[in-house]
Amino acid sequence: MDLNMKVLVVDDFATMRRIVKGVLKELGFKNVIEAENGKAALSELKKEEIGLVISDWNMPEMTGIDLLKAVRANDQYKELPFIMVTAEGQKNNVIEAVKAGVTNYIVKPFTPETLRQKLEAVFN
């Protein structure tokens, strides 16, 4: 895992961005940036070279699933690791995310250990 990569954390709730950022910092990630919805995340992707996206599902303006679809529609981001961290854990949500090309899926509430394990699964 390259701890210098830029990680984009997308969530409409500052609380969850703060919690995810805190766990990433504890794991040694040095470059964590934030966006509060899918639309803002897409403009960050245009500006920065992002190595990992961690996104919520249910957000105003542009949801996490729409962000994932937009990301995968761009050849440049076909392989970009994309983890969905969401309270939306119903079967149809998970199936839709897998079909859209999600790399891994975390259902809220989650422990820091769960996030660490999923990151290891993505990068190792």
Binding site: F13, I19, P109
Partner: protein
């Protein structure tokens, strides 16, 4: 309203606070709530639609929510500010998500809207439908909070 629909929200509240804040919450006896007065100083309300519809809310007094958010963030929070009200919305969102996963296992597919948060002494929580409101009080070592569930089958 089928009271079985309330249990997933009780379990959700216990699990979310345990996982995200290491807070043990004990549910008290549910009661029928007949007014719109919030039991706390900050509340989050979520609309539910699908195979059952209605609203759920969670309401915290300032003392208990500042203690809970302090544990979530790992630093002392003393005021009910924007950060705390944002956290209340996210707590409600996670409780709603967990409860809806359980309700799906009971055969009810339900969608949850983005939470609305209301802050202030003596504010009101308006549930959308005219169905009975079941309130469940909880206790934690830092004080109480209340969940309200108002759903039609």
């Amino acid at each position: 309203m089928d009271v079985k629909l309330v249990n997933p929200f009780i379990e959700g509240a216990i699990n979310v606070l345990r996982t995200m804040a290491s807070v043990e919450a004990s549910p008290g006896k549910p009661y029928l709530k007949r007014d719109q007065k919030a039991t706390g100083d900050v509340s989050a309300v979520i609309g539910l639609t699908g195979e059952a519809s209605g609203t759920i809310s969670i309401s915290f007094p300032e003392k208990s929510i500042t203690a809970i958010v302090s544990r979530m963030f790992g630093e002392e929070i003393t005021k009910l500010d924007g950060e705390v009200s944002d956290a209340v919305g996210e707590i409600a969102n996670m409780i709603s998500g967990q409860a809806r996963r359980e309700l799906e296992k009971m055969g009810k597919l339900i969608h949850g809207a983005i939470p609305s948060v209301i802050v202030g002494k003596n504010h009101e929580v308006r549930h959308i439908s005219n169905h009975p409101i079941i309130a469940v009080p909880f206790e934690t070592e830092d004080g109480g909070f209340t969940i309200e569930v108002c759903m039609e089958n």
